[in-house]
């Protein structure tokens, strides 16, 4: 079972590369934000899986929970920026 | 139980938070609180010095754990001396600077005092601690407060100077931390004495070498040795007076102390001078720093900036002296920590008094100053003589030791640089004296019109009394330390080195 868990964990790690691509090359900032959100949700699960690999999952649950909270805060803050400021593309795009 | 080593640090720390809390009730309460806590700290440090002289090294275990496990304060003669120096200068400066703080940071003076106290706490801790990592934390607290306080100065340029200082300071502190990491990975310990016990068992380890060089690099960045000095002149020039008066004498000297501590206590002189072949290069570096600092000081048009470059020059003295590799050089370097702190403090005290009356200290504004502020200028002249190295003042004696050490080590270039720098300082200060004393009066005073001192007749217009009294005390100390420097060397420095 542990082997299976570590396979899933490695798989999830590799899976993170796809949203990461969106994060790195996303044409607008909001695309990057989507990537962050997706990476965040995968990380929560990955943390739990690592907890199982260490056989101390009760310790890792706390981190995962905190992580979920704070990811939310960060995403809300970043998207709230656009509620107040206009201009989606980089300003240097213009000139 | 003798708790003075803890009180030394805790008094200003508690004072900082009480001063901060008091400010919410009554703004005026924070200044006396800060003063009281620094007085307590000075008292404690003097006590510690007495005890160390009487009974030898003082060990204080924080939280009651034995040294390699917990953090230990290990105060020997060198520590105790620097502690007294730091706490008394901080106390005197606070005493002198009330009006300056009110003038420059009117609506947030209380916060200024809090940050000032934290800065002093950091310096005292850096000097007292016997743990490598604790040193890092304390360096950071010192730097963080000094970034803040520097940024409070000149409205236009200070924030940028402070940000540059921050970037370079962070690199320095990080290099130090990395060096500690390398030492930790190979020894498994963080206590200085413990590490010193383990290191001789690891000859020829590249990790130790890298760790040592990284630590040294970090400390050099923090002390502004020649190629790494870029942050210092701007930072000190644009800082508020009350802060530049304490940071200029103390910050770099404390870092020199850290370097000497690392060299003597942690790595051991044998490792440094016998195994490594760096001393030649470092002495050259010190030589270049002296010459460069002197030349740059000559090129300045602003009194404050000129003094900042003189600090860069003085750093060269101490680093070079410490790396000469003989007892005389080390004695000179340690003695110069004390002397230079006092000299710089006196200079910046006088400078602060001038700034209090004349906002801009470009040379062109200084004319007629001797008539206007005779007492301040008297102190200034004394400090200047000391920097040049005129015999009765203290600056002469440390220079004497340094030159003797240089000859013994055969580093004639260093000795030559010391003499040249004396010459340069003489030229510099006499230029300033000439402007202040002999320059045509009308010229400078018409320049002063905008500041409201536009009387054609020179009126005596002195700085606040507290400031003058402090300047007097420090000037006295300059001569006293000079006269008794033999005593200091014999009771403190030589016993420490042997």
């Amino acid at each position: 079972m542990i082997i299976f868990f570590s396979c899933v964990a490695i798989g999830l790690c590799l899976l993170m590369a796809l949203p990461l691509v969106r994060c790195l090359f996303g044409p607008t900032v909001l695309d990057r934000l989507i990537g962050v959100n997706a990476i965040g949700s995968k990380t929560v699960v990955l943390l739990l899986l690592i907890g199982f690999l260490y056989e101390r999952v009760d310790m890792f649950v706390d981190i995962a929970l905190a992580y979920a909270f704070l990811n939310f805060v960060a995403v809300i803050a970043a998207s709230r920026y656009f509620h107040k400021r206009k201009g989606l593309y980089e300003e240097s795009f213009m000139d | 139980m003798n708790n003075y080593p803890a009180i030394l640090i805790i008094a200003p720390l508690l004072g900082a938070f009480f001063a901060g809390l008091a400010a919410w009730i009554q703004e005026r309460l924070s200044y006396p609180l800060a003063l009281i806590s620094l007085a307590l700290s000075t008292f404690a440090s003097v006590n510690v010095l007495m005890e160390v002289i009487a009974n030898g090294t003082v060990h204080y275990r924080m939280a009651g754990w034995a040294p390699p496990m917990g953090i230990e304060y290990r105060i020997d003669l060198l520590n105790a001396m620097v502690l007294v120096l730091v706490s008394s200068i901080a106390f005197l400066n606070l005493l002198a600077s009330y009006q300056n703080v009110e003038q420059e940071t009117h609506d947030r003076a209380a916060s200024f005092y809090v940050a000032y106290l934290l800065f002093v706490v950091g310096l005292l801790g850096v000097v007292a601690t016997g743990d490598l990592f604790n040193l890092y934390v304390l360096i950071e607290i010192t730097s963080l407060t000094s970034y803040t306080l520097v940024a409070l100065g000149d409205r236009d340029r200070a924030p940028l100077a402070s940000l540059n200082y921050l970037f370079i300071g962070v690199i320095g502190a990080s290099f130090y931390l990395l060096g500690v990491g390398y030492i930790y990975i190979i020894t498994g310990s963080l206590n200085m004495v413990d590490v010193a016990g383990i290191l001789p068992n690891l000859p020829g380890s590249s990790t130790v070498l890298v760790g040592f060089i990284l630590c040294l690099l970090g400390v050099w960045i923090k002390m502004a040795l020649f190629p790494l000095h870029v942050w210092l002149p701007n930072g000190y020039t644009y800082a508020p007076t009350a802060f530049s008066r304490v940071v200029a004498p103390l910050m770099t000297k404390v870092m020199v102390y850290v370097m000497i501590r690392l060299m003597i206590t942690v790595f051991g002189l044998e490792y440094i001078f016998v195994t490594l072949h760096l001393s030649e290069a470092v002495v050259w570096l010190g030589t270049i720093a002296i010459v460069f600092g002197g030349i740059m000081a000559l090129a300045q048009k602003n009194l404050k900036k000129m003094l900042s470059y003189i600090i860069v020059c003085e750093i060269g003295y101490m680093v070079g002296g410490a790396w000469l590799g003989n007892e005389l050089g080390m004695t000179g370097a340690i003695l110069h920590i004390v002397n230079d702190a006092l000299m710089t403090f006196a200079l910046f005290l006088a400078l602060g008094n001038i700034v209090y009356k004349i906002k801009d200290v470009d040379y062109s504004n200084l004319s007629g100053l001797f008539g206007k502020m005779p007492w301040t200028m008297a102190g200034f002249v004394l400090a200047a003589f000391s920097i040049i190295g005129v015999p009765p003042t203290c600056g002469f004696f440390s220079k004497w030791y340094l030159i003797l050490g240089a000859f013994e080590a055969g580093a004639y270039h260093f000795a030559a640089a010391l003499l040249i720098s004396s010459l340069i300082c003489a030229v510099l200060f006499f230029k300033v004296f000439e402007i202040c004393f002999f320059a045509p009066e009308g010229n400078g005073l018409s320049h002063d019109n905008s500041h409201g001192h536009g009387d054609p007749v020179i009126v005596m217009d002195e700085a606040p009394v507290a400031s003058l009294v402090t300047l007097g005390i420090v000037s006295l100390a300059l001569i006293l330390v000079g006269v008794y420097s033999g005593t200091i060397v014999n009771t403190i420095i030589l016993p420490f080195l042997r």
Binding site: I2, I3, S6, A9, I10, C13, L14, M16, A17, L20, C23, L24, V29, R32, L33, G35, V36, I39, G40, T43, L46, L47, I50, L53, Y54, M59, F60, D62, I63, A66, Y67, F69, L70, N71, V73, A74, A77, A78, Y81, K84, R85, G87, E90, E91, S92 | -
Partner: protein, 81 residues
């Protein structure tokens, strides 16, 4: 069995670090920086440093990203490099 995860995450960390300093938009930098913190948190969890991971999760992912966005909000997004 943990070192492959460690290696993969470390690679991601370096990729995000390079990206964060080369994006021509400070808000994008802020967001990539938060990804960087996520990865760091994961890395420390993999290395068994739970407390450090917790701190990084709370500081890097939450607070310092928000500070960053706040600073960008009150200054500007423009950057030349």
């Amino acid at each position: 069995m943990l070192w492959p995860i460690d290696l993969i995450v470390l690679t991601f960390v370096i990729v995000t670090a390079v990206a964060a300093i080369s994006v021509r938009d400070l808000l994008g930098t802020a967001i990539l920086f938060s990804v960087y913190s996520f990865m760091m948190c994961l890395l420390w969890a993999v290395m068994g440093a739970v407390d450090v991971a917790f701190t990084e999760a709370s500081v890097g992912a939450g607070v310092s990203t928000v500070f960053f966005v706040a600073a960008v909000f009150s200054t500007s997004r423009r950057t030349k490099d």
